[in-house]
Amino acid sequence: MRGPDVSTSAALASAISAQFSARARWSPLEMVFWLGAFSTIWLLPEQHLILTEIVIWALLALSLDLILGYAGIISLGHAAFFGVGAYTAGLLAKHALVGEPVLALLVSGLAGGAFGFATSFLVLRGTDLTRLMVTLGVALLVREIANRAAWLTGGADGLQGIDMQPVLGLFRFDLYGHTAYIYSLTVLFVLFLLARRVVGSPFGLSLLAIKGNPLRASAVGIGQTWRLVGIYTLAAAYAGIAGGLLTQTTAFTSLESLSFDRSADALLVLIIGGTGHLYGGLIGAVVFRFAQDWISTATPQYWQFWIGLFLVLIVLVGRDRIGGWFAPLRRLADRISGWRPWRPGPAAAPDEGGRP
């Protein structure tokens, strides 16, 4: 469209940077979302326990979105990193190695990330099926280790006797979960900002290219190995932090944090909200947890049946179509975000032509 313009490298560079800043811009809907999320601190004080759980699910789903939605790696074993983080946080607190929660959370994230880095080389090769099996196998292996190493992890009874210290040495965890919620939500927000930054960067775009067509991506000079290792490690660190949060806010962790069900549920949460746009996991977590709450009061034991039915229906109806239901909303959001009083008129519009 503007061929002659982009032939000069300066124009090309400015077009690209315009593209990037357009991607990085916050839309009003996003701001409303986060304002809404933070307003629950004051608006729904009696719901903070369940909201904390939602935040943790959201973080886990967000981390899964990084590898599934942006790098196209199907994982059935994401609970492995979650569990590593959960047990790390638990052990650090129990043996008073790192008393301060924020610092301990960072260590949990590092542990998750380190484990993710070590296992990332396993998922580089092979097809979807191989990846599926390897991630599943790794998760089962970790669960088995945690189960056997009862002297360290408490085995099937879970890790008990965790005593949490105040956050930053100032805010004590209270019985109603107020501190826990504010703490978790802040962590989620910070990590979300980071993730948003990462997926909007050239690195994030190159991941999308790999997901779209690995062969073509490597043909235009986008190497796969280190990019996939990088995002996998980052996602694992996120999952580790999510696990650490769960341990810190409940002062308990068990084999459940490593179970297959958790991996599958994380996938479900992400699918409910939609993959590949970061908010999917967050929205999915809200829907998932409230649905769980609602269904389990109706039929306490058979919640699993409804999850199953839901998954089957999602696939049969088609995930795209479910995403399509939100399309009018998204278009509306685009229109709102497109309207900016400080925008220099329609002259900026041809930038869109830069897209292939």
Binding site: T130, M133, G137, Y302, Q304, L309, V312, R319
Partner: protein, 286 residues
């Protein structure tokens, strides 16, 4: 030592019968069916109901298990699975995990959550001495039945008209259709057969593997191992893989019980990394 080998072989044979159907759907049709164990469980419970509650002879119970699972497989294949064949792997995973969760909840609801056992006739209990070695009669029976089934499968796949149709349909659906093969019907029949075998395996294995609502989740990884390690180009690959897995698992649990299931998972991961296409692959296959 010989006893371990014997038990391992019985276990491996059982795994093969359980996973044979999966090696076709997953291996040949490239459909990720994580719900395969659910059909095995269905067969196990079908046998449990007819043998324990209705007093049907054990052998007939096995037949019932086969028929029930096959019918269930055919029904689900025609109504649900057909819509998912062409979808992405992620969709297939979600769909079949959904089925697993549903089956677990349904069985929990109708049959209770505790582990159950099928009443075995007295003639199959105890040991029998062959070549001076005491062997469990039941396991011997498993080996015999599964051996016969394996032979039949191998012959059926390589020597019969249906077998060649199936191989054609799997190799190239479009061309097979062009040659007048009813691909849908072939797949449906194969799926039903595989489910039926799984059901039979579930009923046979109730004594060894146990039978409870989480059966599909517990053994999912084993079935997947058999198929991925065994490769997908023939029946012999999964068969050898099942034997290896069976013997390895029994020996591992006997000699190094403190490691539990480590041995198996580690072997699986190593094999997948080393040879992503499986251990026993036909050279030059797609």
């Amino acid at each position: 030592m010989v006893t371990i080998l014997f038990d391992g072989i019985a276990y491996g044979m059982l795994l093969f019968v359980l996973a044979a159907g999966l090696s076709v759907t997953l291996g040949l049709m490239n459909f990720v069916n994580l719900a395969h164990g659910a059909f095995a469980m269905a067969g196990g419970y079908a046998a449990l109901v007819v043998v324990n509650r209705l007093g049907v002879p054990f052998a007939l119970g096995l037949v019932c298990a086969f028929l029930f699972s096959a019918a269930l497989g055919a029904l689900l294949e025609r109504t649900l699975y057909v819509h998912v064949y062409a979808k992405s792997h992620l969709d297939q995973v979600l769909f079949t995990i959904g089925l697993v969760f549903m089956s677990v909840a349904i069985v929990d609801y109708t049959m209770g959550s505790s582990q159950q056992f099928i009443a075995i006739p007295p003639s199959l209990q105890g040991q029998v001495t062959v070549f001076g070695l005491g062997m469990s009669k039941y396991r011997l029976m498993i080996i015999v039945i599964c051996g016969i089934l394996t032979l039949l499968l191998q012959l059926g796949l390589t020597r019969t008209r249906f077998g060649s149709r199936l191989r054609a349909a799997v190799d190239d659906q479009r061309v097979a259709r062009g040659l007048g093969i009813n691909v849908g019907a072939v797949f449906a029949f194969t799926f039903a057969l595989g489910s039926g075998l799984a059901g039979l395996g579930g009923a046979l294995g109730a004594e060894i593997l146990g039978l409870d609502p989480i059966f599909p989740l517990k053994y999912m990884i084993y079935f997947l191992i058999v198929v991925t390690v065994g490769g997908t180009s023939s029946i012999t690959g999964p068969f050898l893989a099942s034997l290896l897995l069976g013997i390895g698992d029994v020996a591992g649990k006997y000699y190094v019980p403190q490691f539990g299931a480590f041995v198996i998972y580690t072997i699986m991961i190593v094999v997948l990394i080393w040879r992503p296409q499986g251990l026993f692959v036909r050279k030059g296959a797609r």
